[in-house]
């Protein structure tokens, strides 16, 4: 099994629901975003960018590409970043030494470091007392590696896990579940009959920075109208 994702940029309305639910469900501290949606070329989201012969406006959601040839995994000196049996690129929060080599290596800027204790960052954010957010339980892989916990330790790296705590139960990642435009498809790239493979056979999916040979498992259906 090899999980993958297809994002149809013609369907994406740039509402950033995916970014917000990702942040909430995965308990990301203030200032940390695993999932981002921007209007390429524009300083402000949802404002058209100047382009050849006029303006252009489309939205590009970017989170971890779960690369087949993942530079973050190759550079990790202690093997804290690894690809699991379902093709998810995960981080063992109990092994990461915080060298941030992966932040330098990742071409997509998806990796986020815990510059401080997330509990402190959350306490300073000004939420009402007693408010907390995110899937509340720690989650370990089959070998016992800690791949999700609501408050990551200070000094380790984190990023999108394809919602390992949900996909392990057969659910889809929360960004896919919550997309109001149905722009995201999730499935098994090894299964020829999966929805994403059916779509990818019909339309040519593009991958970001394909020339680097990282072989992302996130595909984009480019916007026909920019």
């Amino acid at each position: 099994m090899r999980y993958g994702m297809v994002i149809d940029l013609d369907l994406c309305v740039g509402c950033r629901t995916c970014a917000v639910v990702c942040k909430e469900h995965n308990a990301q501290a203030p200032g940390t975003w695993w999932n981002r949606v921007f209007t390429p070329g524009s300083k402000y989201h949802q404002i058209p960018a100047e382009a050849e012969g006029g303006f252009s406006m489309y939205y590009l959601p970017v989170s971890c590409m779960h690369c087949e040839n993942a530079p973050c995994e190759k550079v990790c000196p202690v093997g804290a970043t690894y690809t699991d049996e379902r093709g998810r690129v995960l981080i063992d929060y109990e092994r990461c030494i915080g060298c941030r080599y992966c932040l330098s290596a990742c071409p997509y800027g998806v990796r986020q470091f815990n510059w401080e204790d997330p509990k402190g960052a959350k306490a300073r954010a000004g939420y009402q007392e007693g408010y907390s957010y995110g899937y509340p339980f720690p989650h370990r892989d089959k070998e016992g590696r800690l791949v999700y916990t609501p408050d990551r330790p200070k000094g380790v790296v984190e990023k999108c896990t394809f919602c390992v705590q949900y996909t392990d139960k057969g659910e889809e990642p929360i960004c896919v579940q919550s997309c109001p435009a149905g722009a995201r498809l999730f499935g098994d790239l090894d299964d020829p009959n999966s929805r994403i493979n059916q779509v990818l056979r019909k339309e040519k999916g593009e991958r970001l920075l394909e020339e680097l040979g990282t072989k992302p498992k996130v595909f984009y259906l480019p916007p026909k109208r920019k």
Binding site: A29, P30, G31, T32, W33, R36, F38, P40, G41, A49, E50, A51, E52, G53, S56, L60, V62, P71, K74, V75, C76, P77, V78, G79, A80, R95, C96, I97, G98, C99, R100, Y101, L103, S104, A105, C106, P107, Y108, G109, R111, Q112, F113, N114, W115, E116, D117, A121, R124, A125, P153, K154, G155, V156, V157, L208, L209, L212, G213
Partner: protein, 438 residues
């Protein structure tokens, strides 16, 4: 000689009445004390960083490596250069430089300890350092760097140790030398000579390896155009020879007594020529690389070059003008005439190389790999990255990170400098480090 006197006055500290014979040692004591102060400051600051997280630095997600890693690369360079000098003396029988081999080995040892400290303080979880030994990933250039740097710490220490052995045994044979006191002097001399040679033989390739692998940490990253070039490892070696020799030169000038300067002038001239030659090779590599990036005119390369020659031009000027001035001076006939001039030249080289190491970070980090060329426009658009910190009233996403080290970060970075001074000051104070001139 006037500048020379001034420089020696400065190095000699405040107590002018001191006798010639002890002045070197008292100067060393001053360096040792300064090293102690900087080490304590660095340790306290590191303690604060361990408590609060790397939050206290100027680094954030868009700019993840800065002053610490630049300092690491700088000291790996001076470390490699030190042993390249002392090994070359043994391997190629460079008689002129023989009096400086002990100092060169010491400079290599002190530098590699400093480099280790610089990379340790960069870790978010220094407490998990042991994971490097339990779960090494041999595809990561970083694990190879840990291996060779570790080996190098041992080798440079052995190099210093075996060169000091005969003196240590003669001077009462305290702890690490005690076993040699019972042996006849000839035999001790023989062991020292034989093992120094053996360590030099193994040390030279390892010295070259530490800088090659440190360069490969960066050069293997195809996502960063600024690093991803095959010229980086050879250029690192050239820079290592220049900066390592400059450090040996300063340490030698510092250790000799004023009236013996003429005795060693030939050695100083040779050292300054080595620095000049290495810098020439470095500039050749660097500008070849920049030229190739510029000529093809690829969008990514243009973006990086715009940073080097635009926003970071002052840093680029420091990395070029200072060493270039030193190079021209060192290769000129008067280049080794006075102590002051030599100290000034070698310092200019070290400052320039440090700027060069900082510049390894800036254009690499601030040209995000995921940036899109804009249709019909020149330039690139960095896809925004979340900073990693919530700052009320300020954007969470950045397309550029104006990295400046914080005061506390600079204080942490004093630790490696403190250790360098502490180690070299301690050794020079307690042991004779200057050989007889040939």
């Amino acid at each position: 000689m006037k500048t020379g006197n001034l420089a020696l006055g400065f190095l000699g500290g405040l107590r002018k009445e001191r006798g010639e014979a002890t002045s070197g040692m008292s100067k060393a004591n001053l360096v040792f004390r300064l090293g102690q102060v900087l080490t304590v400051v660095g340790l306290v600051a590191w303690g604060l960083q361990l408590k609060n997280g790397l939050f206290i630095t100027g680094l954030r997600n868009p700019f993840a490596w800065g002053l610490y890693i630049a300092t690491f690369a700088f000291f790996v360079g001076t470390a490699a250069g030190g042993l390249i000098i002392s090994s070359a003396v043994y391997l190629f029988n460079l008689k002129t430089l023989k009096p400086f081999t002990r100092l060169a080995s010491l400079s290599a040892f002190a530098s590699i300890v400093a480099a280790t400290a610089a990379v340790l303080v960069d870790l978010g979880r220094a407490d998990r350092f042991y994971q490097l030994f339990f779960h090494p990933n041999f595809r990561s250039p970083l694990i190879w760097d840990v291996l060779v740097v570790g080996t190098y710490v041992v080798l440079t220490f052995l190099s210093v140790y075996f060169q000091l052995l005969p003196i240590g045994a003669k001077e009462g044979g305290r702890f690490p030398f005690a076993w040699a006191t019972s042996l006849p002097r000839d035999q001790v001399e023989d062991i020292s000579r034989r093992w120094t040679r053996r360590v030099a033989l193994v040390g030279l390739p390892v010295a070259i390896l530490i800088h090659t692998i440190t360069a490969l940490i960066f050069a293997t990253q195809a996502s960063r155009a600024w690093w991803n070039t095959a010229v980086l490892p050879p250029d690192f070696i050239a820079v290592a020879v220049a900066s390592g020799t400059a450090l040996v030169l300063i340490m030698a000038l510092f250790t000799i007594d004023r009236h013996r300067f003429r005795e060693f002038q030939g050695a100083f001239r040779l050292l300054s020529k080595i620095i000049g030659g290495a810098l020439l090779v470095h500039f050749f590599f660097m500008y070849n690389d920049l030229l190739i990036h510029w000529w093809w005119g690829k969008e990514e390369a243009a973006g990086t070059l715009a940073l080097v020659f635009g926003r970071y031009l002052p840093l680029h000027l420091i990395e070029v003008v200072l060493p270039l001035a030193a190079l021209l001076y060192f290769l000129s006939r008067d280049g080794a005439r006075s102590v002051g001039a030599l100290v000034l030249g070698a310092t200019a080289v070290l400052v320039g190389v440090f700027a060069h190491r900082l510049l390894l970070m800036y254009p690499a980090q601030n040209r995000f790999p995921l940036s899109l060329a804009l249709p019909g426009k020149t330039g690139f658009w960095n896809y925004p990255i979340a900073v990693g910190q919530f700052r009320p009233g300020e954007p969470v996403f950045a397309t550029f990170w104006p990295y400046l080290p914080t005061v506390l970060e600079v204080a942490v970075a004093l630790l490696p400098f403190g250790l360098l001074l502490l180690i070299s000051g301690w050794f020079i104070r307690n042991h004779p480090f200057l050989g007889e001139s040939s």
